[in-house]
Symmetry: C2
Subunit: 212 residues, 2 copies
Protein backbone atom coordinates (compact mmCIF):
# COMPACT_ATOMS: atom_id res chain seq x y z
CA UNK A 1 0.00 0.00 0.00
CA UNK A 2 2.86 2.36 0.78
CA UNK A 3 3.86 4.18 -2.35
CA UNK A 4 7.54 3.47 -2.74
CA UNK A 5 8.22 -0.03 -1.52
CA UNK A 6 9.43 -2.33 -4.24
CA UNK A 7 6.82 -4.73 -5.54
CA UNK A 8 8.18 -8.31 -5.72
CA UNK A 9 8.68 -9.69 -9.17
CA UNK A 10 6.10 -12.50 -9.01
CA UNK A 11 3.52 -9.93 -8.01
CA UNK A 12 4.39 -7.67 -10.94
CA UNK A 13 3.94 -10.55 -13.33
CA UNK A 14 0.45 -11.18 -11.96
CA UNK A 15 -0.73 -7.57 -12.17
CA UNK A 16 -1.55 -7.69 -15.90
CA UNK A 17 -3.73 -10.72 -15.23
CA UNK A 18 -5.64 -8.84 -12.57
CA UNK A 19 -6.10 -5.91 -14.90
CA UNK A 20 -7.54 -8.00 -17.72
CA UNK A 21 -9.95 -9.73 -15.39
CA UNK A 22 -11.11 -6.57 -13.69
CA UNK A 23 -11.71 -4.89 -17.03
CA UNK A 24 -13.90 -7.80 -17.98
CA UNK A 25 -15.87 -7.55 -14.76
CA UNK A 26 -16.39 -3.84 -15.35
CA UNK A 27 -17.66 -4.49 -18.85
CA UNK A 28 -20.21 -6.79 -17.28
CA UNK A 29 -21.20 -3.98 -14.94
CA UNK A 30 -19.84 -5.66 -11.81
CA UNK A 31 -18.79 -3.10 -9.24
CA UNK A 32 -17.29 -5.19 -6.48
CA UNK A 33 -15.00 -8.21 -6.51
CA UNK A 34 -13.78 -10.19 -3.52
CA UNK A 35 -10.30 -11.67 -3.31
CA UNK A 36 -11.89 -15.11 -3.52
CA UNK A 37 -13.73 -14.32 -6.75
CA UNK A 38 -10.60 -12.92 -8.35
CA UNK A 39 -8.58 -15.90 -7.16
CA UNK A 40 -11.03 -18.39 -8.66
CA UNK A 41 -11.05 -16.64 -12.00
CA UNK A 42 -7.27 -16.53 -12.24
CA UNK A 43 -6.33 -19.81 -10.63
CA UNK A 44 -4.82 -18.28 -7.49
CA UNK A 45 -5.64 -18.37 -3.76
CA UNK A 46 -7.51 -15.55 -2.08
CA UNK A 47 -4.56 -15.13 0.23
CA UNK A 48 -2.24 -14.45 -2.67
CA UNK A 49 -4.68 -11.95 -4.13
CA UNK A 50 -4.92 -10.01 -0.88
CA UNK A 51 -1.17 -10.06 -0.42
CA UNK A 52 -0.65 -8.84 -3.97
CA UNK A 53 -3.19 -6.07 -3.74
CA UNK A 54 -1.74 -4.91 -0.43
CA UNK A 55 1.15 -3.58 -2.51
CA UNK A 56 -1.27 -1.33 -4.38
CA UNK A 57 -2.55 2.02 -3.25
CA UNK A 58 -6.03 0.73 -2.56
CA UNK A 59 -8.33 -0.34 0.24
CA UNK A 60 -10.78 -3.17 0.08
CA UNK A 61 -13.91 -3.16 2.16
CA UNK A 62 -14.96 -5.96 4.47
CA UNK A 63 -17.88 -7.98 3.20
CA UNK A 64 -17.79 -6.38 -0.25
CA UNK A 65 -14.25 -6.80 -1.50
CA UNK A 66 -12.55 -4.39 -3.88
CA UNK A 67 -14.25 -1.75 -5.99
CA UNK A 68 -13.59 -2.72 -9.58
CA UNK A 69 -13.42 0.87 -10.86
CA UNK A 70 -10.84 1.82 -8.29
CA UNK A 71 -8.89 -1.38 -8.77
CA UNK A 72 -8.76 -0.90 -12.51
CA UNK A 73 -7.53 2.67 -12.10
CA UNK A 74 -4.81 1.65 -9.67
CA UNK A 75 -3.63 -1.23 -11.84
CA UNK A 76 -3.63 0.90 -14.98
CA UNK A 77 -1.55 3.46 -13.20
CA UNK A 78 1.02 1.09 -11.79
CA UNK A 79 1.33 -0.77 -15.10
CA UNK A 80 1.68 2.47 -16.99
CA UNK A 81 -1.31 1.69 -19.17
CA UNK A 82 -2.20 5.36 -19.43
CA UNK A 83 1.24 6.40 -20.58
CA UNK A 84 2.26 6.07 -24.21
CA UNK A 85 5.26 3.77 -24.59
CA UNK A 86 7.31 4.06 -27.73
CA UNK A 87 8.32 0.66 -29.00
CA UNK A 88 10.67 -0.39 -31.76
CA UNK A 89 10.77 -3.88 -33.20
CA UNK A 90 14.02 -5.17 -34.62
CA UNK A 91 13.49 -8.02 -37.04
CA UNK A 92 10.73 -7.97 -39.66
CA UNK A 93 10.38 -11.73 -40.03
CA UNK A 94 7.11 -13.51 -39.41
CA UNK A 95 7.05 -12.72 -35.73
CA UNK A 96 8.14 -9.09 -36.01
CA UNK A 97 5.53 -8.43 -38.68
CA UNK A 98 2.80 -10.14 -36.71
CA UNK A 99 3.58 -7.89 -33.75
CA UNK A 100 3.62 -4.76 -35.90
CA UNK A 101 0.25 -5.69 -37.35
CA UNK A 102 -1.27 -6.70 -34.02
CA UNK A 103 -3.72 -4.00 -33.03
CA UNK A 104 -3.89 -4.91 -29.36
CA UNK A 105 -0.61 -3.21 -28.56
CA UNK A 106 -1.78 0.20 -29.67
CA UNK A 107 -4.92 -0.25 -27.58
CA UNK A 108 -2.80 -0.74 -24.49
CA UNK A 109 -0.48 2.17 -24.87
CA UNK A 110 2.32 0.58 -26.85
CA UNK A 111 3.03 2.56 -30.01
CA UNK A 112 5.13 0.73 -32.58
CA UNK A 113 7.20 3.63 -33.84
CA UNK A 114 9.77 1.66 -35.76
CA UNK A 115 10.23 -1.70 -37.48
CA UNK A 116 13.79 -2.54 -38.46
CA UNK A 117 15.50 -5.20 -40.52
CA UNK A 118 18.78 -5.68 -42.34
CA UNK A 119 17.25 -7.05 -45.53
CA UNK A 120 17.11 -4.27 -48.17
CA UNK A 121 14.35 -6.20 -49.93
CA UNK A 122 12.05 -5.32 -47.04
CA UNK A 123 12.88 -1.63 -46.69
CA UNK A 124 9.83 0.53 -47.17
CA UNK A 125 7.31 -2.28 -46.89
CA UNK A 126 4.46 -1.54 -44.54
CA UNK A 127 3.21 -3.77 -41.75
CA UNK A 128 0.52 -2.31 -39.56
CA UNK A 129 1.33 1.36 -39.64
CA UNK A 130 5.08 0.76 -39.49
CA UNK A 131 7.43 0.78 -42.46
CA UNK A 132 10.53 -1.43 -42.49
CA UNK A 133 13.66 0.66 -42.01
CA UNK A 134 17.33 -0.27 -42.32
CA UNK A 135 18.49 -1.43 -38.91
CA UNK A 136 21.56 0.77 -39.29
CA UNK A 137 19.29 3.77 -38.94
CA UNK A 138 18.12 2.71 -35.48
CA UNK A 139 20.28 5.30 -33.71
CA UNK A 140 18.94 8.07 -35.99
CA UNK A 141 15.41 7.33 -34.90
CA UNK A 142 16.48 7.16 -31.28
CA UNK A 143 17.88 10.68 -31.57
CA UNK A 144 14.53 12.01 -32.74
CA UNK A 145 12.15 10.23 -30.40
CA UNK A 146 12.75 8.68 -27.04
CA UNK A 147 12.40 4.94 -27.52
CA UNK A 148 11.13 3.26 -24.35
CA UNK A 149 11.10 -0.39 -25.31
CA UNK A 150 12.97 -2.44 -27.88
CA UNK A 151 11.69 -5.80 -29.05
CA UNK A 152 14.27 -8.25 -30.36
CA UNK A 153 12.63 -10.48 -32.97
CA UNK A 154 15.68 -11.68 -34.88
CA UNK A 155 17.29 -15.12 -35.08
CA UNK A 156 19.41 -16.10 -32.06
CA UNK A 157 22.78 -15.45 -33.67
CA UNK A 158 21.95 -11.77 -34.21
CA UNK A 159 20.34 -11.18 -30.82
CA UNK A 160 23.38 -9.96 -28.89
CA UNK A 161 24.35 -7.57 -31.67
CA UNK A 162 20.85 -6.12 -31.79
CA UNK A 163 20.77 -5.84 -28.00
CA UNK A 164 23.95 -3.77 -28.12
CA UNK A 165 22.54 -1.53 -30.84
CA UNK A 166 19.45 -0.94 -28.71
CA UNK A 167 21.55 -0.19 -25.63
CA UNK A 168 23.71 2.22 -27.65
CA UNK A 169 20.53 3.94 -28.81
CA UNK A 170 19.63 4.51 -25.15
CA UNK A 171 16.87 1.95 -24.83
CA UNK A 172 16.48 0.85 -21.19
CA UNK A 173 13.90 -1.90 -21.54
CA UNK A 174 14.18 -4.85 -23.88
CA UNK A 175 11.79 -7.65 -24.69
CA UNK A 176 13.85 -10.53 -26.01
CA UNK A 177 11.98 -12.96 -28.21
CA UNK A 178 15.16 -14.47 -29.63
CA UNK A 179 16.17 -17.94 -28.59
CA UNK A 180 19.34 -16.73 -26.91
CA UNK A 181 20.34 -15.12 -23.63
CA UNK A 182 21.53 -11.54 -24.10
CA UNK A 183 24.00 -9.64 -21.94
CA UNK A 184 23.26 -5.99 -21.19
CA UNK A 185 24.45 -3.34 -18.72
CA UNK A 186 22.90 -3.32 -15.26
CA UNK A 187 20.62 -0.36 -15.87
CA UNK A 188 18.85 -2.11 -18.74
CA UNK A 189 15.94 -4.43 -17.99
CA UNK A 190 15.43 -7.52 -20.10
CA UNK A 191 12.33 -9.67 -20.14
CA UNK A 192 12.48 -12.92 -22.04
CA UNK A 193 9.46 -14.31 -23.85
CA UNK A 194 10.03 -17.35 -25.94
CA UNK A 195 7.29 -19.44 -27.37
CA UNK A 196 9.80 -22.16 -28.18
CA UNK A 197 10.77 -22.54 -24.54
CA UNK A 198 7.14 -22.72 -23.51
CA UNK A 199 6.57 -25.44 -26.08
CA UNK A 200 9.57 -27.36 -24.81
CA UNK A 201 8.22 -27.05 -21.28
CA UNK A 202 5.03 -28.72 -22.51
CA UNK A 203 7.07 -31.34 -24.32
CA UNK A 204 8.80 -32.17 -21.04
CA UNK A 205 5.49 -32.65 -19.30
CA UNK A 206 4.24 -34.85 -22.13
CA UNK A 207 7.40 -36.92 -21.87
CA UNK A 208 7.03 -37.58 -18.17
CA UNK A 209 3.33 -38.40 -18.34
CA UNK A 210 3.95 -40.83 -21.19
CA UNK A 211 6.27 -42.89 -19.01
CA UNK A 212 3.63 -43.63 -16.39
Amino acid sequence: MSVMEPVPHPVIRRLPKYLVHIQELREEGIEWASSQEIADALGLTSSTVRQDLSHMDLKGISKKGYETAQLEAVLRKVLGADVLHRVVIVGAGHLGRALAEHGAFAERGFDICGLFDQDPGLFGKKFGHAEVINVERLSELAEDVKVDIGIIAVPGQAAQEVAEALVDAGVKAILNLAYKHIHVPEDVTVVDARIMESLQELAYVLGTSRKR
Copy 2:
Protein backbone atom coordinates in the same frame (compact mmCIF):
# COMPACT_ATOMS: atom_id res chain seq x y z
CA MET B 1 20.27 -37.76 -11.23
CA SER B 2 17.88 -40.51 -10.22
CA VAL B 3 15.54 -41.26 -13.08
CA MET B 4 12.10 -40.78 -11.67
CA GLU B 5 12.23 -37.93 -9.21
CA PRO B 6 10.17 -34.95 -10.28
CA VAL B 7 12.20 -32.06 -11.66
CA PRO B 8 11.15 -28.76 -10.06
CA HIS B 9 9.36 -26.34 -12.32
CA PRO B 10 11.96 -23.56 -12.32
CA VAL B 11 14.54 -26.12 -13.37
CA ILE B 12 12.40 -27.34 -16.26
CA ARG B 13 12.04 -23.80 -17.51
CA ARG B 14 15.81 -23.41 -17.59
CA LEU B 15 16.51 -26.65 -19.43
CA PRO B 16 15.74 -25.23 -22.89
CA LYS B 17 18.23 -22.44 -22.23
CA TYR B 18 20.93 -24.96 -21.38
CA LEU B 19 20.14 -26.89 -24.53
CA VAL B 20 20.46 -23.90 -26.81
CA HIS B 21 23.73 -22.86 -25.25
CA ILE B 22 25.25 -26.32 -25.35
CA GLN B 23 24.29 -26.73 -28.99
CA GLU B 24 26.11 -23.52 -29.73
CA LEU B 25 29.20 -24.70 -27.89
CA ARG B 26 29.17 -27.92 -29.83
CA GLU B 27 28.92 -26.06 -33.12
CA GLU B 28 32.07 -24.24 -32.07
CA GLY B 29 33.69 -27.60 -31.43
CA ILE B 30 33.87 -27.14 -27.65
CA GLU B 31 33.79 -30.50 -25.90
CA TRP B 32 33.72 -29.56 -22.23
CA ALA B 33 31.87 -26.87 -20.30
CA SER B 34 32.13 -26.09 -16.60
CA SER B 35 29.18 -25.03 -14.50
CA GLN B 36 30.79 -21.61 -14.19
CA GLU B 37 31.07 -21.15 -17.96
CA ILE B 38 27.47 -22.16 -18.48
CA ALA B 39 26.35 -19.90 -15.65
CA ASP B 40 28.14 -16.88 -17.09
CA ALA B 41 26.64 -17.41 -20.52
CA LEU B 42 23.12 -17.73 -19.20
CA GLY B 43 23.16 -15.23 -16.35
CA LEU B 44 22.97 -17.83 -13.58
CA THR B 45 25.26 -18.93 -10.75
CA SER B 46 27.45 -22.01 -11.02
CA SER B 47 25.67 -23.38 -7.98
CA THR B 48 22.31 -23.22 -9.72
CA VAL B 49 23.74 -24.91 -12.79
CA ARG B 50 25.17 -27.79 -10.78
CA GLN B 51 21.94 -28.18 -8.84
CA ASP B 52 19.91 -28.18 -12.04
CA LEU B 53 22.11 -30.68 -13.80
CA SER B 54 22.08 -32.97 -10.78
CA HIS B 55 18.49 -33.74 -11.81
CA MET B 56 19.75 -35.06 -15.13
CA ASP B 57 21.13 -38.50 -15.82
CA LEU B 58 24.66 -37.25 -16.24
CA LYS B 59 27.99 -37.02 -14.44
CA GLY B 60 30.37 -34.11 -14.65
CA ILE B 61 34.07 -34.61 -14.17
CA SER B 62 36.16 -32.65 -11.71
CA LYS B 63 38.47 -30.15 -13.33
CA LYS B 64 36.85 -30.50 -16.76
CA GLY B 65 33.16 -29.94 -16.22
CA TYR B 66 30.43 -31.53 -18.34
CA GLU B 67 30.92 -33.18 -21.70
CA THR B 68 28.90 -31.13 -24.16
CA ALA B 69 27.96 -34.07 -26.37
CA GLN B 70 26.60 -36.02 -23.44
CA LEU B 71 24.86 -32.99 -21.98
CA GLU B 72 23.16 -32.20 -25.27
CA ALA B 73 21.95 -35.79 -25.60
CA VAL B 74 20.56 -35.83 -22.07
CA LEU B 75 18.80 -32.49 -22.47
CA ARG B 76 17.35 -33.44 -25.84
CA LYS B 77 16.00 -36.60 -24.31
CA VAL B 78 14.43 -35.02 -21.26
CA LEU B 79 12.92 -32.20 -23.33
CA GLY B 80 11.59 -34.67 -25.88
CA ALA B 81 13.47 -32.96 -28.70
CA ASP B 82 13.90 -36.26 -30.51
CA VAL B 83 10.21 -37.11 -30.41
CA LEU B 84 7.82 -35.65 -32.96
CA HIS B 85 5.13 -33.57 -31.29
CA ARG B 86 1.96 -32.96 -33.21
CA VAL B 87 0.76 -29.41 -32.74
CA VAL B 88 -2.42 -27.67 -33.78
CA ILE B 89 -2.84 -23.92 -33.80
CA VAL B 90 -6.28 -22.47 -33.23
CA GLY B 91 -6.58 -18.94 -34.56
CA ALA B 92 -5.15 -17.90 -37.92
CA GLY B 93 -4.69 -14.22 -37.12
CA HIS B 94 -1.34 -12.52 -37.37
CA LEU B 95 0.16 -14.50 -34.52
CA GLY B 96 -1.21 -17.89 -35.52
CA ARG B 97 0.01 -17.41 -39.08
CA ALA B 98 3.44 -16.27 -37.95
CA LEU B 99 3.76 -19.42 -35.87
CA ALA B 100 2.61 -21.66 -38.73
CA GLU B 101 5.17 -20.06 -41.02
CA HIS B 102 7.97 -20.13 -38.49
CA GLY B 103 10.42 -22.81 -39.57
CA ALA B 104 12.15 -23.16 -36.21
CA PHE B 105 9.35 -25.27 -34.76
CA ALA B 106 9.69 -28.02 -37.31
CA GLU B 107 13.44 -28.08 -36.67
CA ARG B 108 12.82 -28.80 -33.03
CA GLY B 109 10.34 -31.58 -33.35
CA PHE B 110 7.10 -29.61 -33.37
CA ASP B 111 5.01 -30.46 -36.40
CA ILE B 112 2.20 -28.04 -37.12
CA CYS B 113 -0.41 -30.51 -38.29
CA GLY B 114 -3.40 -28.19 -38.23
CA LEU B 115 -4.27 -24.50 -38.38
CA PHE B 116 -7.84 -23.64 -37.47
CA ASP B 117 -10.05 -20.58 -37.64
CA GLN B 118 -13.73 -19.76 -37.68
CA ASP B 119 -13.54 -17.29 -40.56
CA PRO B 120 -14.72 -19.01 -43.78
CA GLY B 121 -12.79 -16.40 -45.75
CA LEU B 122 -9.57 -18.02 -44.55
CA PHE B 123 -10.46 -21.67 -45.15
CA GLY B 124 -8.04 -23.33 -47.54
CA LYS B 125 -5.42 -20.58 -47.41
CA LYS B 126 -1.93 -21.88 -46.80
CA PHE B 127 0.52 -20.59 -44.20
CA GLY B 128 3.76 -22.49 -43.94
CA HIS B 129 2.68 -26.00 -44.88
CA ALA B 130 -0.60 -25.75 -43.01
CA GLU B 131 -3.94 -24.95 -44.56
CA VAL B 132 -6.60 -23.09 -42.61
CA ILE B 133 -9.41 -25.43 -41.60
CA ASN B 134 -12.80 -24.73 -40.05
CA VAL B 135 -12.39 -24.87 -36.29
CA GLU B 136 -15.49 -27.03 -36.10
CA ARG B 137 -13.51 -29.79 -37.73
CA LEU B 138 -10.95 -29.88 -34.92
CA SER B 139 -12.38 -33.05 -33.41
CA GLU B 140 -12.31 -34.79 -36.79
CA LEU B 141 -8.60 -34.21 -37.09
CA ALA B 142 -8.07 -35.36 -33.53
CA GLU B 143 -9.74 -38.66 -34.37
CA ASP B 144 -7.27 -39.27 -37.17
CA VAL B 145 -4.03 -38.19 -35.57
CA LYS B 146 -3.07 -37.91 -31.94
CA VAL B 147 -2.66 -34.21 -31.25
CA ASP B 148 -0.08 -33.62 -28.51
CA ILE B 149 -0.17 -29.87 -28.12
CA GLY B 150 -2.78 -27.22 -28.86
CA ILE B 151 -1.84 -23.56 -29.24
CA ILE B 152 -4.52 -21.01 -28.48
CA ALA B 153 -3.95 -17.94 -30.64
CA VAL B 154 -7.41 -16.38 -30.61
CA PRO B 155 -8.71 -13.19 -28.96
CA GLY B 156 -9.31 -13.47 -25.22
CA GLN B 157 -13.10 -13.78 -25.43
CA ALA B 158 -12.83 -16.99 -27.44
CA ALA B 159 -10.01 -18.56 -25.43
CA GLN B 160 -12.08 -20.58 -22.97
CA GLU B 161 -14.29 -21.97 -25.71
CA VAL B 162 -11.26 -23.03 -27.73
CA ALA B 163 -9.66 -24.55 -24.64
CA GLU B 164 -12.75 -26.69 -24.13
CA ALA B 165 -12.77 -27.79 -27.76
CA LEU B 166 -9.12 -28.82 -27.41
CA VAL B 167 -9.83 -30.71 -24.20
CA ASP B 168 -12.79 -32.45 -25.85
CA ALA B 169 -10.51 -33.45 -28.68
CA GLY B 170 -8.25 -35.15 -26.15
CA VAL B 171 -5.38 -32.65 -26.14
CA LYS B 172 -3.47 -32.82 -22.84
CA ALA B 173 -1.06 -29.91 -23.28
CA ILE B 174 -2.05 -26.37 -24.17
CA LEU B 175 -0.01 -23.30 -24.90
CA ASN B 176 -2.19 -20.30 -24.21
CA LEU B 177 -1.22 -17.14 -26.03
CA ALA B 178 -4.59 -15.47 -25.42
CA TYR B 179 -4.83 -12.65 -22.97
CA LYS B 180 -7.12 -14.57 -20.65
CA HIS B 181 -6.79 -17.26 -18.00
CA ILE B 182 -8.31 -20.55 -19.09
CA HIS B 183 -9.83 -23.24 -16.90
CA VAL B 184 -9.12 -26.87 -17.78
CA PRO B 185 -9.40 -30.28 -16.08
CA GLU B 186 -6.56 -31.35 -13.80
CA ASP B 187 -4.97 -33.75 -16.23
CA VAL B 188 -4.40 -31.02 -18.81
CA THR B 189 -1.27 -28.88 -18.58
CA VAL B 190 -1.46 -25.22 -19.55
CA VAL B 191 1.52 -22.96 -20.13
CA ASP B 192 0.82 -19.27 -20.62
CA ALA B 193 2.96 -17.16 -22.92
CA ARG B 194 1.81 -13.64 -23.44
CA ILE B 195 3.86 -11.00 -25.10
CA MET B 196 1.45 -8.36 -23.84
CA GLU B 197 2.11 -9.29 -20.22
CA SER B 198 5.83 -9.20 -20.78
CA LEU B 199 5.50 -5.74 -22.29
CA GLN B 200 3.43 -4.58 -19.34
CA GLU B 201 6.07 -5.94 -17.00
CA LEU B 202 8.59 -3.73 -18.79
CA ALA B 203 6.20 -0.81 -18.62
CA TYR B 204 6.02 -1.25 -14.85
CA VAL B 205 9.79 -1.15 -14.57
CA LEU B 206 9.91 1.98 -16.75
CA GLY B 207 7.30 3.58 -14.55
CA THR B 208 9.20 3.01 -11.34
CA SER B 209 12.55 4.13 -12.72
CA ARG B 210 10.98 7.30 -14.10
CA LYS B 211 9.91 8.35 -10.62
CA ARG B 212 13.43 8.35 -9.21
